[in-house]
Symmetry: C2
Subunit: 368 residues, 2 copies
């Protein structure tokens, strides 16, 4: 692999280089919007291509300089989306503290009356361990999942970088989980999240194993795999397709999460559980959600195949033509499909039934 | 989408164009071999990049002109591989005729003695509906699957193009299936194949439904989805990565399979079952095997998500960093993982146990 860094540097040039050590110099090509997408999703992909992600080209020094506005901008955008979600999904929101950690408890009107049938899901928001909050990016995901599953969802306000460093977030999730275990059996608790929240879901399972806590009944790693410094094919393909961050001189791709991880060892199973078979062998049934335009696709596929080879229950779903965290746009038909997949998975593995309104494909679950 | 053909033509140029109608002009980039691969698979990917696929750049006129040598070359290569497989997997081969169609019956020594526990799999070889035979590409897949499952596998010598046209292959598979139904219940029969054989598996299920035959107990669409003129993201990405066939002027990508399909309607569910929900709703439990460097990834992902949304039992496995039909190189650890996935899937859904030798991860199943 010694020729790899040189080839990565050459990648910025317009001329094709002879392949070395298996590095493929992929020529420029045109990628149309997938014809398999719904009209709504096609329109969404077109808009995304034109407008782009304003944070995609920032290096971490620039992120730090603009952190306040990135955080506020994200939250303001999410608050607008959440106002729309609350018109469609019947939930009550309660700001509480579990195990000393702030959470937003999302209580769906579709929850079963019998306490024996009640289930709890812990939700971990995205935002690269740097931005986003439980009540912003967290609720975007927690509200539909609560309504669709009829389960209580706790969106966790875990500590992030750069103010805090690994393992602060894992510790916070474990504190919430211990408080949950005081109320319900582990088999009735699930844990999930998207993007950094999906990474943190895997890291939390690793932390629970280290602390000898019982594993929850199910987990969802959405928009995330088991390698916190995720790599593989899709990272390079998507860096090109999304015109995102350029590679470092050593060929690796930078991640905003470094502001939380610092100089951690990314092969540490508490950071990247995929590298430890004894740990993976303890994983509960795990659901993966990703897309063919998502940088994490390779990382997710690899994590799924490792769990499967260890004969763990693990379920992979890849949405064609869609990118990272697509399901946070709950209006897309494909997002509604993804939420139905999540709802069926958690109901099956936490041993309960879905709300009666669940199967209706067109309508949102439990509308007011 | 009116700007799409123009953009596709511009794709050949080195200069980035402004995106139109959501078409993304992806810049040239360097793609390293995935670090998640086993050393053997990394070496395999390096060799593939350097040597390339000699048929990848042929148009169909060139394929026709060289058809005899493509067929003979494929078969000769496969015969060498099969000789190696027969040293590792304990099977007997019987050339027979089922329902008037030639098959190779692969009988594993690991088959259960009790007739009540015997199961049958129908295997459909790849080769773009133009090349490959039951006793060449077919046995490459049928031998490991027979040994790993302990099930009898019939590799079918179905009719291909350009000598024959759609639906000749579907008719031949149905004839073999009727003969199988005379011996075993449908629930004890599975059907699978890779590449064109995977496409034909879906088309055969559609044909069985049309003929009102009972559905088999399980199906495997390997290296293939449910759209015979497969498209979506991965087709464009892989055309660039593999330096394969260039797009037509109308933006579509040519396929060698046209030599079999002729001017068929690709939206016909007998050709592309993914476009018919009433048909998909009749599908048996279906397993999908693909890779992140496989042109069919998008097609497979879409087919899987359609089946899942219709609440069919469907299982998707994507191998990171590997391409089309990777599992036909049975020496790769990743291929052995894929064969274990297939074996567990068929055993579960055809209601039987695996041979005792199956779980050993390092050794091949049932070595002589």
């Amino acid at each position: 692999m010694s020729a790899l860094p040189l080839c990565m540097l050459l990648a910025a040039g317009a001329h094709a280089e002879a392949p070395a050590e298996g590095v493929r110099q992929v020529p420029s090509f045109a990628l149309p919007v997938s014809p398999y997408l719904s009209p709504q999703a096609q329109e969404s992909v077109r808009s995304a291509v034109i407008h782009g992600d304003p944070t995609a080209k920032l290096d971490n020094a620039a992120v730090l300089a603009q952190l306040d506005s990135i955080r506020k901008g994200t939250d303001q955008w999410a608050y607008g989306e959440i106002a729309e979600l609350r018109k469609r999904f019947a939930v009550e929101l309660h700001h509480e503290t579990w195990g000393g950690i702030p959470v937003v408890r999302v209580q769906p009107r579709s929850a079963p009356a019998d306490p024996a049938n009640q289930r709890l899901l812990i939700e971990l928001h995205g935002g690269a361990f740097v931005f986003g909050r439980a009540d912003s990016l967290g609720l975007l995901e927690a509200i539909p999942v609560a309504a669709m599953t009829g389960m209580t969802v706790l969106a966790v306000e875990y500590r992030q970088g750069p103010e805090h460093r690994f393992p602060a977030a894992s510790e916070d999730v474990a504190a919430v989980y211990r408080a949950a275990l005081a109320r319900l059996p582990a088999a009735h608790i699930g844990i999930f999240g998207c993007s950094a929240g999906g990474v943190l879901t895997g890291e939390s399972l690793a932390w629970f194993a280290k602390e000898k806590l019982p594993m929850p009944g199910a987990a969802g790693l959405f928009c995330a795999g088991g390698d916190a410094r995720y790599g593989g094919d899709s990272r390079y393909v998507m860096a090109a397709i999304n015109d995102a961050l350029l590679p470092h001189a050593d060929g690796t791709l930078p991640i905003m999460e470094d502001l939380y991880y610092g100089d951690v060892d990314f092969r540490d199973p508490l950071v990247s559980p995929v590298f430890s078979e004894p740990l993976l062998a303890q994983f509960p049934p795990t659901l993966f959600i990703t897309g063919t335009r998502a940088a994490e696709l390779s990382n997710v596929s690899y994590m799924h195949s490792r769990l499967v080879d260890l004969e763990r229950v693990s379920d992979l779903h890849v949405w064609e033509g869609l990118g990272h965290a697509f399901h946070l746009d709950a209006k897309l038909p494909e997002s509604q499909q993804a939420y139905r997949v999540m709802a069926r998975f958690f109901a099956k593995h936490l041993g309960t039934a879905l709300p009666a309104s669940h199967p209706a494909p067109a309508a949102a679950a439990a509308p007011r």
